[in-house]
Symmetry: C2
Subunit: 91 residues, 2 copies
DNA sequence: ATCTATGTTTCTATTGACAGAAACATTTTT
DNA sequence: AAAAATGTTTCTGTCAATAGAAACATAGAT
């Protein structure tokens, strides 16, 4: 089995708190903030903030946002589904 | 809610395949290989390979392995539990 | 059609993870 | 205790992600 699959497999068995602990363990602080920023970018893109607006608010560069936009262009993106579910919960 | 918690929350709802897809979406190829290597290091440390042996076999530097060793020193580490579960499955 | 806002790409510089190598610390073997 | 093996830290250099800024592309508004 490839390693990422194995990791996914292990994560799948965990509770929210455990996933949080696992990520905190295996990622550096910087990596976590990188990951968090990508997530925030995806959320704001989904909420139709303009890229320049997002760049200003999250204090990130445009090139990073373009990357996020590419992910969301794939209509089957898991990220897209997850983010939309979060949006719906807030309603 | 802090962002990492929110991400963990979303991941917790996914199947193995979806987690795999999500990680592939949101991480770069390099980041995935970094993460995979860390995982392999943890597994080999748990199997009591010497650090120098691991460094040679996985072609990584010692400083990276020390980091892995620090994670496993925490007896409550989630990673440790996950890795041991995998080991047990193989018996 | 022109102007403006927005999306996308590209350039140079910066930064953090980490390689390679060596030094130092600790544990194990003899 | 001395030697050997292993763990840990430290140093310099490298590389990938990305900041900052500008240029280019496209879509909408007028």
């Amino acid at each position: 089995m490839n390693t990422l699959k194995e990791i996914s497999n292990s994560i799948a068995k965990l509770t929210v708190e455990e996933i949080n602990a696992f990520l905190t363990e295996i990622l550096t602080e910087k990596e976590i903030s990188t990951l968090s920023n990508r997530w925030r970018i995806l959320k704001m893109l989904n909420q139709n903030f303009s890229q320049r607006d997002i760049a200003t608010r999250l204090n990130v560069s445009l090139c990073k946002i373009t990357r996020g936009a590419k992910i969301l262009k794939n209509k089957n993106a898991i990220s897209l589904r997850l983010i939309r579910e979060i949006e719906n919960e807030h309603k």
